[in-house]
């Protein structure tokens, strides 16, 4: 049986323009979360919960990191949370990226904007639990939006791309993917147009993509968050995703 969960806020820090990192305590989530999974957060005054990817966990301190952009009322409210506050969450929800990968794979992680946090979780876990070779490509709108560059650098080769060229390479992530011909697998999370471009550019290697959709229940019951699959069906992002084999879904 799944239980009522609360996370106790340890800190909320602004780490880039409108972007916040929240560290909160919940031992079960910190132990069980897989990269790509999310927590579904109740924010008082709002009918629906907000899905936010788990950006990292540290079971030794029972801590869970979330990185989110304050774009609307819910995330703005969340960015004002103070240490000590209790958050009502469901999770970890969804399937997540499997990190059961053969050691000789050379993986490419591609994250865009708020798609970067789950990529970080994946990178961190891969580096902690395997010795797989990791290259990361991270896209942001502009210099001030960049976050977690250091953290990724610590894990492996990391390339930053910005839309306006104010930092790293000027352009979009797909502009530089040609450089990484040795990669045998990719994982990606970011806005839909980016995922589409990544999928078509990297169609020669297997890939997994993590998707977003507006959610009702967040647990698989309401059919709000579906994604068309190549066999003319739908899959539920909240429960059968958010991570899908790239070639099985229609982006």
């Amino acid at each position: 049986m799944r239980k009522r969960e609360t996370m106790s806020v340890l800190s909320v820090t602004q780490i880039a323009t409108d972007t916040f990192e929240m560290i909160a305590e919940n031992s079960r989530i910190s132990e069980q979360a897989k990269p790509g999974q999310f927590v579904h957060i109740y924010i008082p005054g709002h009918t629906l919960r907000r899905p936010i990817s788990i950006a990292a966990v540290d079971p030794s301190t029972a801590s869970v990191s979330l990185v989110f952009k304050a774009i609307g009322e819910g995330t703005k409210q969340l960015s004002n949370y103070q240490s000590g506050m209790q958050i009502d969450v469901l999770g970890p929800n969804g399937n997540g990226f499997s990190i059961d990968i053969s050691e000789d794979e050379r993986v490419l992680l591609i994250g865009g904007g708020v798609g970067v946090p789950p990529m970080y979780h994946l990178a961190k876990r891969l580096s902690e639990e395997t010795s797989i070779d990791i290259v990361s490509v991270l896209g942001f709108q502009t210099k001030n939006a960049v976050f977690y560059e250091e953290e990724f650098n610590r894990i492996g080769e990391t390339y930053i791309v910005t839309d306006d060229g104010s930092y790293g390479t000027h352009g979009v992530v797909t502009d530089i993917l040609g450089q990484f011909k040795d990669r045998t697998q990719y994982f990606s999370c970011g806005p839909l147009p980016m995922l589409r471009a990544v999928k078509s550019k990297l169609s020669h290697i297997p890939g997994k993509v993590s998707l977003e959709e507006r959610m009702g229940c967040g647990v698989g019951a309401c059919m709000a968050c579906v994604l068309p699959t190549v066999d003319n069906h739908y899959k539920k992002i909240c429960s059968e995703g958010p991570v899908f084999v790239a070639e099985e879904v229609v982006l």
Binding site: M1, R2, R4, Y42, H46, T47, L48, R49, L90, E213, R214, M215, G216, C217, G218, V219, G220, A221, C222, M223, A224, C225, V226, L227, N232, H233, Y234, S239
Partner: protein, 304 residues
Amino acid sequence: MNLSVKLPGLNLKNPIMPASGCFGFGKEYSEYYDLSLLGGVMMKAATQFERLGNPTPRVAETSAGMLNAIGLQNPGVQQIIDQEVPRLAKYDTSIIANIAGSSIEEYEFVAASFNQTEDVHALELNISCPNVKQGGIQFGTDPTMAKKVTGVVKKVSNKPVYVKLSPNVHNIVQMAKAVEEAGADGLSMINTLTGMKIHLPSRKPLIANKTGGLSGPAIKPVAIRMIYEVRQQVSIPIIGMGGIFNAEDVLEFLIAGADAVAVGTANFQNPFACVDIINELPVVLERYGFHSIEDVIETRGITV
């Protein structure tokens, strides 16, 4: 405290059921609690064939509510009977099948299909889904059509039929009377109010289907009013719904005229919503001087 209610075909241990479309076929929420705690389960709509539903986005948040335009996605009646009903039947609770269609024939087919299983205790005839192009709401806003489809379903089905009314009408009493005359065993009300939200950055409706159904606390006053109006003039039982989030809301529905209730949107905010309400209910009934659900139902005639 005795929370049980007897309705045609349904011996509910308590008056709380998850509302159709907000609980799938129970599988997901069965990971949160024992479904045997529920008075009943109102399953997601069933149609003749599998339906994939509308494009996404299918939901949007609104003030004290939400819009949805799922578009009746479901695996088709036969698969529901084969796969979903048996799983639900393991729980000690009543099962109500919600049936939808784009034509009288489809309603007839789906209703007849459920005769195959004894595990479904009643039908909820959904003539009020605002989110499909054909059928659904047309039947729910025209009393003649409503009467016709109710009559056909009653004739073909061996189960009690609760007709689910649309609030998108001027005269809800007229609709209720029409389906009562056609033999409905009960009413289920209300379905969602048709609404829209504009996504400012794209300057377009946020829901891909453009319009969606408004549910949640925002619509509770409309639900209460309609149930109250219908209760004054129609005697078949009413399963009430629309914005129920706690046990006081349940009591409000019962006093207004409902005999049992369904909880929809609240499940999304709190997966334990139904059990939390069931647990609160005795305390709340007592606080307002009631001794059982039957007590509320019997006394309301005098006090309202």
